[in-house]
């Protein structure tokens, strides 16, 4: 398989898009380590990945906490090795109109969704540079480009991730390391299941495909970007949104 012998680290792999990404990469033969914020979450990831060709496992990591990142990466190094593939997927929302947005809502989202990408990417680069092969894939969002009322914090973080990714791509491309973003639109996850019928209806009006996306449809693009076939694709943001926004 195409990712045989590769070690992949996927943050936020308990459910939704992260879970599908972990499954996709494991299906391609990678040893996948998935992160969760709780022991129970880490255990469920281990169960999900137990049946893979190269069984992976879950670990506890709070990506908004530098010490937790360090401890988690140590566990990855000891139990698996240096990651060849990093998927920064973990993210949170703290939605509110800017006039009501609290400092904590801003900093929580920036720390979890943007600063974590900086910390984790920096930490894995050394191993990737040595291996002369690496893939950093950041899960952005359609709203990074579009904007969205109630999400100034989230949109700032995701647009930040895209700019970060372009710079990183330029820094590391002559080491065989690519950095790209995948920007999902409305995907059928716990996050969108919370919406009521009216919100759902108005969402459908702006999605030409007329349906929500599946987590697997995002994961498939991540799987491509992780593969050798995508070695010349770097600094790019690939939209997966059923046509609602085309950058």
């Amino acid at each position: 398989m195409s990712l045989d012998g590769k070690i992949a680290l996927v943050t936020g792999a308990t459910r939704g898009i992260g879970k599908a990404i972990a499954k996709e990469l494991a299906g391609q033969g990678a040893l996948v380590v998935g992160t969760a914020t709780s022991e129970a979450g880490a255990e469920s990831i281990s169960e999900d990945l137990a049946g893979a060709a190269t069984p992976g496992f879950g670990i506890v990591m709070n990506v908004s906490d530098p010490e937790s990142i360090e401890a988690g990466l140590k566990a990855v190094a000891e139990r698996a090795g240096a990651p060849h593939i990093l998927v920064n997927n973990a993210g949170i929302t703290r939605d509110n109109l800017l006039m009501r947005l609290k400092d904590g809502d801003w900093s929580d989202v920036i720390e979890t969704n943007l600063a974590s990408v900086f910390r984790l990417s920096k930490a894995v680069l050394r191993g990737m540079a040595k291996a002369r092969w690496g893939r950093i894939i950041n899960v952005s969002s359609v709203v990074a480009g579009m904007g969205n009322p109630g999400q100034t914090n989230y949109c700032a973080a995701k647009a930040g991730v895209e700019g970060f990714t372009r710079s990183l791509a330029k820094e590391m491309s002559n080491r065989g390391i690519t950095a790209n973003c995948v920007a999902p639109g409305f995907i059928d996850t716990d996050m969108t299941r919370k919406l009521d019928d009216k919100q759902r209806e108005s969402m459908m009006e702006v999605i030409p495909a007329g349906r929500l996306g599946e987590p697997e449809e995002v994961a498939a693009v991540v799987g491509f970007l992780a593969s050798d076939a995508a070695g010349y694709v770097t600094g790019e943001t690939i939209h997966v949104n059923g046509g609602m926004y085309m950058g």
């Binding site: 050394r126 540079a129 590391m172 002559n174």
Partner: protein
């Protein structure tokens, strides 16, 4: 046991992909051995690993030649 000089030169060869005969103590990483900015960062990291030491960024910036690196290692390990 190899000397510090031998070990430093070996790492320089590995990191910068140059032949041992090209590496003199006076060689400048950038001007003589063709290192780019990323090469020099990687070189410092490789030296840190080999000699089990931490080279602070402000010190690392001053290491322009093979001899600079040897002198630093000798003084700090």
């Amino acid at each position: 046991m190899s000397t510090v000089e031998e070990r430093v030169k070996k790492i320089v060869c590995e990191q910068l992909g140059v032949k041992e005969s090209e590496v003199q103590s006076t060689s400048s990483f950038v001007e003589d051995l063709g290192a780019d900015s990323l090469d020099t960062v990687e070189l410092v990291m490789a030296l840190e690993e080999e000699f089990e030491t931490e080279i602070p960024d402000e010190e690392a910036e001053k290491l322009a030649s093979v001899q600079d690196a040897i002198d630093y290692i000798v003084a700090h390990t």
